[in-house]
């Protein structure tokens, strides 16, 4: 892969010369993203979209104020002219100017081995068709199979006014399958996705048929299953469910912008116990092939492995340059933007609870009466209170340490901080999930992972017919 260099030295120097004197900090961010999405539905290739999305964002900092302009493609002149007109009033503060001139730094984390052009559109469509066939061959009563395959190449070029010039390239593939099976009059749905920062070698690494069959299996488990009971139960979340819980229940609360503004339950808790001693939570941006990885973040800071919680003690947060400055610490390479038209904010990358020492099978055996969750859907969290809601895809009752019948339609409710403190066991395995995280209208690709864990108690919401009549407060 070659670095993405849309502006040569003279060009970006000229831009800086005309705009930067009135500001403390200036940055040019150029992005070029190209991709292809195939959607296979109703037994045929229903939708194919090919795109090119390219543009520039110029960001200027003056004290605490950020001024930002963005425009598609390379129409820098339009931005520069706008800034020139507004030049008065924002005086530059005294800062040390570093005179070191660097070449473009380009050290991508995930190098692709097989370019996207190595397979024709027909060949790619054929793979989706085959996955659809393999599901229908194995399962009866298939109402719908929807397969979504996306490939993309994101190239960024950042010039900061201390003359750091960085280029980074992140490829991306996601393969997602949604299966609906009939269950009498009703319908049961299963969803499974996999992906990461790969080229077409993805199809050699991952057997996409397994993704499809797993989605179908998750739906099939719900056919004929009883509705989930309501109440408070110990919950085992299997590593196969991935890290949705840690991402939603705790991850957002550890983004420094929310902490700094007082919108996180974790504010002021650095150095304090926020989780059980068995829990270590990290966010690692340097895992090759993982969906949230990058060599540099969207402000040009090198990514790293960030230890957020260590053996239950809160150690740190996910930072951008701005939050790091405000909280008197170093940025962590977690500043991300959905595209050139957005401002960067602290985001997760690949967030996980580290594997522990407990045997996953023993964890299940230790539960007298509870719920085993093997697959999760989406969720929502309020980072101020830490309250969350998750939808469960595949779950079972546990009785006397044994996995019993499957249950359907469950949701899990709880409070992130309480859950972390109530993690009683942490397995020695690890399972990943891929997805797109939304925050303030910006979606970024992420992955999350967890070992099998036992949570002392969660509220399980379901549709059990046995609801007690109440005495209201």
């Amino acid at each position: 892969m070659k670095p993405y260099i849309p502006l040569n030295k003279n060009e970006y120097k000229a831009i800086f010369e005309s705009i930067k004197d009135e500001f403390d900090y200036a940055e040019i961010f150029c992005e070029n993203k190209e991709g292809l999405t195939l959607i296979f539905d109703d037994r045929k290739l229903e939708n194919v979209i090919r795109f090119v999305s390219s543009g520039t964002g110029i960001r200027l900092l003056s004290g605490d104020k950020t001024i930002f302009y963005s425009i598609p493609s390379d129409r820098y002149d339009e931005i520069v002219n706008k800034i020139k007109i507004k030049k008065t009033g924002d005086r530059r503060q005294e800062t040390e100017k570093r005179k070191k001139k660097k070449e473009v730094i380009f050290e991508p984390i995930s190098e692709i081995k097989k370019d996207f052009s190595a397979m024709s559109l027909n060949e790619k469509a054929d793979i989706l068709k085959k996955v659809d066939n393999s599901i229908r061959e194995k399962y009866q009563d298939v109402l719908q199979v929807t397969i979504r395959y996306s490939e993309s190449m994101r190239k960024i070029f950042i010039v900061t006014d201390d003359e750091n010039v960085i280029s980074d390239i992140t490829p991306g593939i996601i393969f997602a399958v949604n299966v609906c099976l009939r269950d009498g009059e009703e319908i049961r749905t299963g969803y499974k996705a996999d992906g990461g920062q790969y080229g077409l070698e993805f199809f050699n690494i991952v057997d996409v048929h397994k993704i499809g069959l797993e989605a179908a299996r998750i739906a099939a488990v719900q056919v004929g299953a009883n509705p989930a009971p309501c109440g408070r139960f110990p919950v085992v979340i299997s590593s196969s469910a991935g890290g949705t819980m840690i991402h939603e229940a705790c991850g957002h609360g550890l983004e420094a912008d929310l902490v700094e503004k007082g919108f996180s339950v974790y504010k002021g808790k650095t150095g304090k116990r926020v989780a059980s001693g068995k829990v270590t939570v990290i966010d690692n941006g340097r895992l090759a092939g993982k969906r949230g990885s990058a060599s540099f973040d969207d402000e040009g800071i090198k990514t790293e492995k960030v230890v957020l919680i260590e053996n239950g003690i809160l150690k740190g947060f996910l930072h951008s340059k701005k939050t790091a400055k405000k909280m008197n610490t170093k940025p962590t390479g977690n500043s991300r933007r959905e595209s050139y038209s957005n401002l960067p904010i602290p985001r997760m990358r690949n967030t996980m609870i580290n594997p522990g020492n407990d045997d996953p099978l023993d964890i299940i055996k230790s539960v007298e009466k509870g719920i085993l969750v093997k697959n999760m859907g989406g969720g929502e969290v309020d980072p101020v209170t830490g309250n969350f809601v998750f939808y469960v895809g595949e779950a079972y009752l546990i009785e006397k340490g044994e996995i019993k019948e499957p249950i359907r339609g469950a949701i899990l409710l709880g409070s992130g901080p309480e859950v972390l403190l109530n993690i009683e066991k942490v397995g020695n395995d690890l399972g990943f999930n891929v997805g797109t995280c939304g925050k303030e209208g910006q979606g970024v690709p992420v992955s999350d992972a967890q070992p099998t864990i036992l949570i002392k108690e969660l509220i399980v919401g379901g549709q059990s017919t046995e609801l007690k009549d109440s005495i209201r407060n």
Partner: protein, 441 residues
């Protein structure tokens, strides 16, 4: 930009085709603690090209407006069309189908508030919110924005329509604190008039929302009568609207399959798609394919009157066009969605309803709505709100779960109030009363 030339090229290659061009220019400011945090100006511009040959569709889009980018995009779209499967319903709307556009006359004059007025409005909102209640402590976001947008659709079947409009939005998210309990609240208002959203109104609604949330308790499970806030009514109804779109109906991926002209809800439920509502945010008299929009009842007195269609689904189901081919800008092909969803107001006065309801809960938040299964209708969601006791909205409650089926919920609507509010999501709704809903926690 050479759209006519591009259309001609499309025809020369033996395709039918559609060009969707849009540009939106927005300015926004974010303030906090009486200082300007961010000042932004964005231009989002791009072109989406859809081509069809023998029922095979190809689509590609590009940002910007350069001719060489348009050419490359056209090439990609044609390559894709060669590979896709043929479907006889892939037909573009024609000039005849797109000849009767009803006037939408909501914006008679150009409006440009300028960054300074956006800043002033944001500061005013912050100031008022802080002055209304000392428990309002800090703000996550106070954002005041203005967008001007323009769209142009042309196709080889001689459809050629364009429109422009503007919209201002004021958005505020704040945290309130009372004796150690912290609660988050937000409020968003828009204006399509020649004035910015009313900062005082936004501040008052925000504060009123937050102060109702302090010290929530957990409720014991049971059956309750739920009064939904207008925002929650809008959210709930919107959450299953995809079950009424033509594509999900012909694929039989909906609880409303085979339910046309049948009773699907309470007699007091009337839902209309009305692009011409004077206060609604819909500003174009055409949908994302250039088809004229029109007002129509989706549900009338509980009876399902129509599904929503784009051209493709209308052909699949043999229904007339409804002008609901909504697209998320130039980056997508036309999907299907309401233009402006109006859950029609009823006759009940909200205050009287609250006074007279027994075992009542006032619901102000729902979590997990996006996971509603529109195929089975089943849902399991989190809820928060307030207990209604002695005719008043009182103690806050949280961590409730409501599980059930949309089919039942629609039957359980027993009253519709007259306190309609308009939301930036393109929906307006009043409070509604749901009888006998099971809550667990």
């Amino acid at each position: 930009m050479e759209f006519e030339k591009t259309l001609k090229k499309i025809k020369d290659y033996g395709f039918e085709g559609e060009i969707y061009y849009s540009v939106s220019k927005s300015k926004s400011v974010k303030v906090n603690e009486k200082k300007i945090e961010e000042q932004r100006e964005n231009i989002d511009e791009g072109i989406g090209i859809r081509v069809i040959k023998h029922g095979r569709v190809g689509f590609a889009f590009t940002t910007g407006n350069k001719n060489e980018d348009i050419e490359k995009t056209l090439k990609y779209a044609m390559e894709i069309a060669e590979v896709c499967e043929s479907d006889g319903a892939n037909i573009l709307p024609t000039k005849d189908e797109c000849s009767l556009y009803q006037k939408i006359d909501k914006q008679k004059q150009w409006f440009e508030p300028g960054i300074d007025n956006l800043i002033k409005n944001a500061f005013l909102c912050e100031e008022i919110a802080l002055s209304l209640d000392s428990r309002i402590k800090s703000f996550r976001d106070i954002e005041s924005s203005f967008t001007h947008f323009y769209s142009h659709i042309l196709n080889t079947a001689e459809v050629d329509i364009s429109g422009e409009g503007y919209c201002s939005i004021l958005h505020i998210t704040a945290v309130g604190e009372e004796k150690g309990d912290r609660q988050l609240g937000f409020e968003v208002e828009y204006s399509i008039k020649e004035e910015l959203p009313d900062a005082e109104k936004v501040a008052k609604k925000l504060v009123s929302k937050i102060v109702k949330k302090f010290y929530p308790i957990e409720l014991k499970p049971g059956k309750y009568n739920l009064v939904l806030s207008p925002f929650i009514t809008a959210e709930l109804i919107s959450s299953f609207i995809t079950a009424l779109t033509g594509d999900n109906i012909y694929k039989r991926k909906s609880i409303f399959v085979d339910k046309l002209d049948k009773n699907i809800g309470s007699r007091v439920l009337n839902i209309v798609d009305d692009p011409f509502d004077y206060n609604s945010i819909s500003l174009f008299n055409f949908d994302g394919e250039g088809v004229p929009v029109r007002k129509k009842y989706i549900i009338e007195k509980g009876v399902l009157k129509t599904f929503l269609h784009n051209k493709y689904s209308s052909i699949k189901l043999g229904d007339r066009l409804t002008g609901n081919g909504v697209r998320a800008g130039y980056r997508a092909i036309p999907g299907i969605a309401p233009i402006h969803l109006n859950i029609e107001k009823g006759e009940n006065n909200f205050e009287s309803l609250i006074k007279n309801v027994n075992d009542g809960l006032y619901i102000t938040e729902l979590m997990g709505l996006h996971t509603i299964d529109t195929i089975s209708g089943e849902f399991s969601i989190g809820a928060s709100g307030n207990i209604i006791s002695s005719g008043e909205i009182k103690k806050a409650v949280h961590k409730m779960t409501i599980a059930g089926n949309i089919r039942d919920i629609l039957e359980q609507i027993v009253a519709v109030c007259d306190n309609t509010e308009y939301f930036v999501s393109g929906v307006c709704a009043p409070s509604i009363l749901l009888e006998g809903v099971s809550i667990s926690g």
